[in-house]
């Protein structure tokens, strides 16, 4: 049965020549009337017998700045992979708003639909300039034909300049992304997310390898983004989490161990045992 379903979904009769059709930029009609923008329900992922996610339940409200912490192997990155369509879970459901089933969508659809992702290792297009990096990430028609003949409109140019200013790289706009410092690459990648006009930003370890000063600026940037966007930050740096977090979720062995404000988390004996122990 599942084989038949596979064939039906990959070879849809109404999409035989789908690759010829323009691909409009579609922001998904996300219904967030109950407040939550992302639901992860009972999700399990197994890699060769290793349970990376074990019946994970998580719900994030619109406009929230949520920090997710947990020791190595707790399933933080796997959770992001599931939400962005990179990994298909064995069981469970993932919803964007109340109405959009993310498990039925491909990576590119999720990305266009409003969920942006920053990788753990800063990943920018090093052979292109800062401007071009932002241009490519911009929400616009991303079909192969239209990019071949595309020209930048003045509004789009303005938008790129705006985002360049938000991430503080005005001076470096014409530089190759490969020549930026580590911290600047992290900001550029956040800028690339912003260009996608996402509802949700998934940010994996934004301050890894940053200097104290850069860390502080990144914290300000992320807190300023929350509200208009929903920001989910996965981070190891406890001082950083403490400085920005309002609500923290602790993952452990693939499921949620505790959730609450930073103070609640820090005084939770289970959390202290598995994670915070020697740090507090």
């Amino acid at each position: 049965m599942s084989a038949l379903r596979n064939i039906q979904t990959t070879m849809r009769r109404d999409r035989v020549f789908g690759f010829l059709q323009p691909e409009p930029d579609f922001a998904l009609p996300v219904d967030t009337s109950h407040g939550a923008i992302l639901y992860v329900e009972d999700v399990s992922v197994r890699f060769d017998g290793f349970l990376a996610l074990n019946r994970l339940n998580l719900s994030v409200n619109e406009g929230e700045l949520r920090c997710i912490i947990g020791p190595n192997g707790a399933g933080k990155t796997t959770m992001m992979d599931v939400v962005t369509g990179k990994t298909r879970p064995d069981t469970g459901r993932v919803y964007f708003g109340q109405n959009i089933d993310l498990l039925a969508l491909d990576e590119y659809q999720i990305a266009r639909g409003g969920i942006g992702r920053k990788f753990q290792k800063p990943t920018v297009f090093e052979a292109l300039t800062v401007f071009e990096n932002l241009e490519l990430s911009m929400a616009s028609d991303k079909g192969a034909w239209s990019t071949l003949f595309h020209r930048l409109t003045p509004e789009q140019r303005t938008r790129i300049d705006e985002v360049t200013e938000i991430i503080g790289l005005q001076e470096q706009q014409g530089w190759l992304a490969g020549s930026l410092s580590h911290g600047q690459k992290q900001w550029l990648e956040i800028g690339m997310l912003l260009m996608q006009n996402p509802r949700v930003l998934l940010v994996d370890e934004p301050v890894a390898g940053m200097t104290g000063d850069e860390t502080e600026r990144t914290g300000e940037l992320l807190t300023s983004l929350a509200g208009d966007h929903t920001v989910i930050v996965v981070e190891h740096d406890m001082a950083f989490v403490r400085s920005i977090a309002r609500r923290v979720t602790v993952l452990h062995q693939g499921s949620v161990l505790a959730e609450g404000s930073m103070n609640q988390i820090q005084s939770d004996p289970r959390v202290i045992e598995v994670y915070l122990g020697d740090e507090t």
Binding site: A127, T147, S179
Partner: protein, 364 residues
């Protein structure tokens, strides 16, 4: 505006285009106008040889477009080159008419020899030039579409992709070696007489083929340049350097790769079609995996990812090959090996790397 975009800071490309245009004028002049006694006279042998290099340069350009810009390493581009060549060869074979050894009005010699009763269906239409030219681009394009769709959809990349392209070209070689395929078996198609009513042996035809090859190469270069300077081209570079980032930026990476691959295959097919009338033969040897690898090495020697470097590389390696195989036939392969070792070790950016300075930090 467009001209500016295409050629801004592409000095190497402009130089190569100017040289090609100069050849378009100088080669016919040196062959047709100058008397044979003149020291500047160019023999017809040389015209055909240079024309062959131009076809190779077009193949190299097609490879550089996918390898240098999208990071798709195809070690089987000879497949598309060969198919384009066969389409042209079939047209030329049909033009022989009853002048073959057996004098059959419709069937080519090898079919008479193999006691065919009538022309197989896949030879229908090849007596018409326009149809054959359509097949020159359509057959390689369709094969690339099907092959690429399957490969890119399954996210086959890098060395795995390179290996299956080798398998593709090898399979084609084995198939075309079989007499039952109806393409002349290991002898291939040869003994051509006319193209569009002109004798393929005639000096003027050779010169015309040379000029057409040069103009086609120029047009292909400009088209390729258009692609790589468009936003499409920047997406390709993004795919090459960070494929999954590109996906999470909302691009359907497979589609980009597929279209580029099909375009590149069509260019390779055209290259094959230009090659065949100038060398006078097409046989399954063109599908030999080694030939495809050699073509990739032209690009590597010239300098990957610059387009014009591929043209320079094709001329440099084939020029050296022509000279060496005539002067020192025994040591040619050693020279070839040494060349590639030297280029890899000392010129990782190819010949153009000597002249091209890196886009340096902060200097955009």
């Amino acid at each position: 505006m467009l001209t500016r975009r295409l050629f801004l800071s592409d000095w190497g490309g402009i130089t190569v285009l100017v040289l090609l245009l100069a050849m378009v004028v100088a080669v016919p002049y040196a062959n047709l106008v100058l008397p044979p006694e003149s020291p500047w006279h160019l023999s017809t042998y040389w015209v055909a040889l240079l024309g062959k290099f131009l076809a190779f340069a077009l193949l190299a350009l097609a490879i550089d477009l996918i390898w240098g810009y999208a990071g798709i390493l195809s070690l089987g581009h000879g497949a598309f080159f060969g198919l384009g060549g066969y389409a042209m060869g079939m047209y030329l074979t049909r033009q022989i008419g009853d002048r073959g050894v057996y004098g059959h009005p419709e069937l080519p010699d090898f079919m008479v020899f193999l006691s065919y009763e009538s022309l197989p269906w896949f030879w229908w239409g090849f007596d018409m030039f326009w149809f054959a030219m359509l097949m020159v681009v359509l057959v390689p394009g369709l094969l690339a579409l099907v092959f690429g769709w399957l490969a890119f959809r399954s996210r086959v990349t890098g060395v795995y992709f390179a290996i299956i392209t080798q398998a593709l070209v090898f399979a084609l070689m084995l198939a075309f070696f079989r007499n039952e395929m109806g393409f002349g078996g290991n002898n291939g198609l040869t003994d051509f007489k006319d193209i569009l009513g002109f004798s393929v042996q005639a000096r003027e035809t050779r010169v015309a083929l040379f000029v057409i090859s040069a103009l086609t190469l120029i047009a292909a270069y400009v088209a390729a340049r258009y692609i790589v300077t468009s936003r499409f081209g920047r997406v390709l570079i993004a795919v090459r350097d960070a494929e999954s980032r590109t996906r999470f930026a909302g691009y359907r990476v497979e589609h980009y790769k597929l279209w580029l691959f099909v375009f590149s295959a069509m260019l390779a097919g055209i290259a094959g079609a230009l090659y065949v009338p100038q060398v006078g033969i097409i046989n399954p040897g063109e599908f030999s995996p080694l030939r495809s690898i050699e073509a990739v090495l032209w690009v590597a020697v010239g300098g990957r990812g610059s387009l014009f470097g591929a043209i320079i590389g094709a001329f440099a390696v084939n020029g050296a090959k022509t000279w060496f195989t005539a002067a020192y036939p025994q040591v040619w392969l050693f020279f070839l090996g040494a060349l590639f070792v030297l280029v890899t070790v000392f010129l990782p950016r190819g010949l153009v790397g000597i002249f091209r300075r890196r886009r340096t930090e902060g200097g955009a």
